[in-house]
Symmetry: C2
């Protein structure tokens, strides 16, 4: 079946920095057929040659243009013009495309208008799963706008034709969570309130808001990161075992646990980095948070009493995304080694920039002493196969072509996560200002009365 990949917003960063390199890798590995067509759609009036030059100027990776260029068409369109969609439809038919992925790498306010054009022109007919449409995050700016967008989409398409992207779900270690949990007797057995003290989900960024001020200032960290990536990670860590390892069974369990998850509004810490108000395209009186630390509880038998913490923010000490599963103190440690100051067991699932699993446990201090010491077992996932760990977008694009929905979010996941975040953000917003990560730590200690190890 001849495939087509059509990308709206193809003069944007996502196209240049993620999608083209992903297509390049998939071509190299033979996952994309050589007769595939790639339609780069944008408003800018230029030739394919100019477009490719612009792409080259803005890309980080080297890609094999000799392979990509022959597959590519650059199509100029006005997203509001019905006639433009009809022209596209004719071209697709002329090209003999039988299987089509339409990728909307555009801001959410454009979702409805493009969806409408695609539907009304007949490029995608409702129910025909050989044609699929993909929406980039964020899916809406709040619960109401997400609902409104979704209502439109459901007019035009079946849920099974709609793919909502959360690129975190394409990351290797995120996919790994369910395998680590359910393919290992030892973790399966201890994955509950009897053994686990808390779970912490971290996505720290070193960078500032950069050129995204215009978008970011309207959204903030809570909606930009917590509603999507962080809650998705929490769902995978906390969900019950799905009946089968299939997309729908997994989503059932994710939604079930998200419905039981509540953020504790009074414990949410919001911060803004010093100098944020002076950033390009940011309101000089902005009250937008660039940092969140939040606590959630999950009201079910497995997790009752186990806090889930979330931390994300810009301009922090390092770029790091990870899941920390902190175990309780062993029952015997206080009677058997009362004088020892030991660390509890910890499982760290490292998502970025390193990918791996670190297990921290206690052993005898080597030598003639009888003391305990903390050791780390380290599994480096990305080291296992150099050149083999795919970028998230490579994975997601391949799944789109194969109609594998596991790593895309279903509407009820989106609805539930927006509901969680909205409920939590109704309190009066007070922001602390931070300059260094020590300021952040201090604020957390002030609020929670305790330091978390190795934040």
């Amino acid at each position: 079946m001849k495939q087509g990949i059509m990308i709206f917003g193809s003069t944007g960063n996502l196209m240049y920095k993620k999608l083209i390199p992903a297509i390049d890798h998939l071509l190299k590995k033979g996952h994309i057929a050589e007769d595939t067509k790639i339609y780069a759609m944008a408003r800018r009036d230029c030739t394919l040659e100019d477009y490719i030059q612009d792409a080259k100027d803005n890309m980080i990776d080297d890609v094999n243009w000799d392979k990509i260029e022959p597959l590519m068409e650059y199509i100029i369109l006005d997203v509001n013009n019905v006639e433009d969609y009809k022209t596209i439809k004719t071209q697709i038919e002329d090209d003999g495309i039988e299987d089509l992925v339409i990728y909307l790498a555009v801001p959410p306010f454009l979702f409805p208008v493009i969806a409408k054009g695609i539907s009304e022109s007949g490029i995608i007919q409702k129910g025909d799963q050989t044609k699929r449409i993909v929406f980039e995050k964020p899916f809406g700016e709040d619960l109401a706008s997400a609902k409104s967008i979704n209502k439109d989409l459901w007019q035009y398409f079946d849920e099974k034709q709609i793919y909502r992207i959360d690129h975190y779900l394409g990351k290797e270690m995120i996919q790994n969570i369910l395998m680590v949990r359910f393919a290992n007797k030892i973790f399966e057995q201890v994955w509950n309130h009897e053994s686990i003290a808390y779970v912490m989900i971290v996505a720290k960024e070193e960078e500032s808001v950069l050129s995204r001020g215009n978008y970011y200032d309207k959204i903030g960290a809570l909606k930009d990161m917590l509603q999507s990536h962080l809650l998705q990670m929490a769902a995978l860590v906390a969900m019950e075992a799905p009946e089968t390892y299939t997309s729908e069974a997994i989503k059932e369990e994710k939604v079930a646990v998200l419905k039981a998850l509540k953020l504790v509004p009074k414990d949410i810490i919001l911060g803004q980095y010093k100098g944020y108000k002076k950033e390009d395209k940011v309101d000089p009186n902005s009250n937008t948070e660039t940092f969140v630390f939040a606590q959630a509880s999950i009201d079910n038998d497995r997790w009752r009493g186990v806090p889930f913490y979330f931390m994300t923010g810009k301009k922090l000490d390092e770029k790091r995304s990870e899941i920390i599963v902190q175990f309780k103190t062993s029952d015997k440690i206080n009677t058997m080694w009362p004088e020892e100051n030991t660390k509890n067991n910890r499982l760290q699932i490292e998502v970025a920039p390193d990918e791996g699993v670190v297990f921290q446990f206690n052993v005898k201090n080597p030598g003639l002493s009888n003391k305990l010491t903390s050791a780390k077992l380290d599994y480096c996932h990305s080291c296992q196969a150099v050149d083999n760990t795919p970028e998230a977008y490579e994975r997601l694009l391949l799944d789109l072509l194969k109609q594998n929905r596991t790593l895309f979010t279903r509407w009820d996941e989106i609805e539930t996560t927006w509901t969680i975040v909205e409920k939590a953000s109704k309190r009066r917003r007070t922001l602390f200002t931070y300059d260094t990560f020590d300021d952040v730590k201090e604020e957390i200690i002030n609020q929670y009365g305790e330091a978390f190890d190795d934040l």
Copy 2:
């Protein structure tokens, strides 16, 4: 308090290859005071100079004789001559020794006579714990002889003055077992029949019987290795948590679990390596086993239904001693990944030649596949502190000087382990002959109907 270390059998291999290097290390690290006296006792008529020359000729390690020689006396004695003991007593008093460790590095048949001499001469008075006596393994050659030796010793000494050596207990990773088990919530929680499929305790040797034919042919692998080292390891793996991390509390629990442990006589495999009968000082019609594979059951709530396997032998494919804790299949793996051929979780406690912990678990195969693969987390204990991992004898000698009894076996441990082995060895002895380790594997598969992974 001025200390003395008196070694009987000091022209033997144990003295040259283990005790002198251990003393050297302890001196270097400042654990033995510079005014300590070392009395090397033997029958051979020679000077201290000659003795040291003989030691040098037979040693493997380099030691700092400049430090050791000034502390050392070479004393010629006839172990049957009461007068000789009296002379020694006078010398110790003249040297001002207040704290004395007497180490019997001699065959067990000499234990009673030397014990008698030491007691009757008053070198050690019953109940005075500043004077202690140490017995090398084997403590007896069967239950009856062990009982008989022990009966003699209890005439002369209190149990608290008696130190029975099992040098395996001095090894770092053996000491580590209780810490790994009880200082880690995650292992504490899964250490039972619900999660563990089986435990295997392995001590493979590459070497033949070498020069020990005379001794070994009377004893065999079951008594030489299983009764002591292997059952000691099993006790540490299987015991309940002691109330405190003290010698007596640990021994209570070790004895309790050993009393619940039974070898299954019909499943014991005994083997003899090809060519054993032609070894020096071995009976040409010898029926002695050089290999044992045995299965034990432990009749208590924690371990009901979990087989403990033991394997030890000479002339095998490698020198390796380890404890394998094999976990059951995860509950979900068959429904979630029915087509995957996964390995179960396994914790390997490596005792020799490497020291460490290896944890085998399942993760996602890196890359674009959705398959599982087996990964190993590896903690190298001996790598943590080069030069810091003490030899077993260094550890044991230090504990002797400090009156720390944890790593020495109490009489009821010896009695219980001899009872276990005697009960199991009453069946008719049939030996298979092996040339390579593949022969051994084949025999195990014949008997048990299954292959054990990575034997």
